[in-house]
Structures are given as structure tokens and as C-alpha cells.
Symmetry: C2
Amino acid sequence: MPAWVEGKLFFYADSPPRRLMELFSVKWSTMVLHALSHWPGERARTGELQRSLQGISKKMLFQTLKELEMRGLIARHVYDVIPPKVDYRLTPLGRTFAEPIEQMYQWGLENESALDKMEACYQAASR
Amino acid sequence: MPAWVEGKLFFYADSPPRRLMELFSVKWSTMVLHALSHWPGERARTGELQRSLQGISKKMLFQTLKELEMRGLIARHVYDVIPPKVDYRLTPLGRTFAEPIEQMYQWGLENESALDKMEACYQAASR
DNA sequence: CTGCATCCATAACGATACTG
DNA sequence: CAGTATCGTTATGGATGCAG
């Protein structure tokens, strides 16, 4: 995304990479997508998801699910039963977005030491 | 990072991938790192960076630079001249983190159509 | 030019309680 | 069980002005 304009580098806030980042900056969206992409059986029920994503609040879970659905990344399926049953799964578009997330997760797993170094630096600099 | 515990999938908020994401969720940090990793000559002056990162405010630039320096991702060099001259460059650790950012940027560039689809979906769902 | 300190608006997040 | 509504807190970002 860098571009040279009049001999200077330019980065644009609305560039594709930034747009991708924007999606990711929503705290739980990557985790939800990642969870669904690894979910045994593809379809996850609301409660299952919540228990799986340790620490997510009900509100944030629903907000995230709704947003991802609006963006066409996940599909919501309502069963006509009592008590209510709903599940979510990735759409093909959602699977596309699971790719970079998977990459990121992979990198994180392989570079835990770099993350530790960064944190150590931060701690040291904080005093 | 998914783990099976008692037959259920678990994701942890403090997993390496999440820690990476946390760094990225700071709006400008990826752009700064990415900019520096592509900077001709490696070293970028403060003002040059600001002009390059269209739309960043002075405050956010300094805040981001300071944070990245505290984390050991960039090095700050002060020249003993008047008027003041300072420049920043990636540390080896910073270069490590530039990798996943580059991947992400690459993905964004190659999948602009997916981003467009997502946005279109969102627009359609908003009415 | 670089860096820092204020002040302020708003968006993100989370706890909780309530409905069908 | 799924989903919504309300409220309060904190984090984030941006404008501006001042100092070395």
C-alpha cells in the first residue's frame, strides 16, 4: 500500500490492508471467525460459542455475531423448536477471511518468544 | 490456539494470537511498522512519517512511536543538532513483527474484492 | 522541528437484568 | 436457550497550544 507521490511515501487509511485491520480491530471478531473455522461439525450453537470464547460477555458475543452476519461472513440458522435453538457457521466469504486470521494465529504460535520479548521490553520500560 | 477441554473447544484471550492482535488493534501501529519496514534508507524522520501516514494526528504519531519504542520494536535516534532532528528505524525484533503485517497487507491487496463484498453486504443489511 | 500536556467527544467494552 | 435493553466505565482518537 505504500505509494510514492512526489518522491514521498504515502500510506492511505482506506487501503485494503487497513480495511482488513478494521475488521480485526473489533476485539472478538477474529476469535469468533477462527473458532467457527475450526469448529467440529461446522455449526456452533450460541451457548457453545460463548462457553468456548472464555471471557466474552453475552452482549459482545451477540454484537459480534450480528455484525459478522451483516457483513456476510457467517450464516445464522434458526431451528423452529422449543426451547430455541440457533446455530452459526462460516459462509464461503467468511472462509476467505479465515485465511489471514489463520496465518496470524499461526505466526503467533510460532513466535511466542518474540511476543514475550516485546512484553518484557514493555515491562522494563514502564519503570 | 483452540484447545479441547472436556470435549469442548476453548479459546483463550491471552493466547499468542490474541496478544499479537492486541498490538495490531492500536490503530496506527501496524501502519507505522509497515511504513518503516518499507522506508527507503531504513530511517524515517518524525515529520516525514507524519506526512506519509495520511490522517494521523501529531498526538497519535508520538503516542504510537513511544509505545513501539517501549516494546522494543523501533529504535529512536536523536541527533545533537539545532533545530532538533530525530529518526526512527525498526529493530531486529520489530522486523520480526513486520512479517505478519506484511502478510496481512499482502492478503488485503490480493483480496480487495472480498473486502468489497463484505462492505456491500454490510451496506445492504444496514437498510 | 520535536515532543509533551490539556481538554474533549465518542466509541468500545462489560455487567446486569429482563423478555419470549 | 436465545436475544435485547440499559447503564456505567474505560479506552481511543483528535484538536490545540506550549516549550526546548
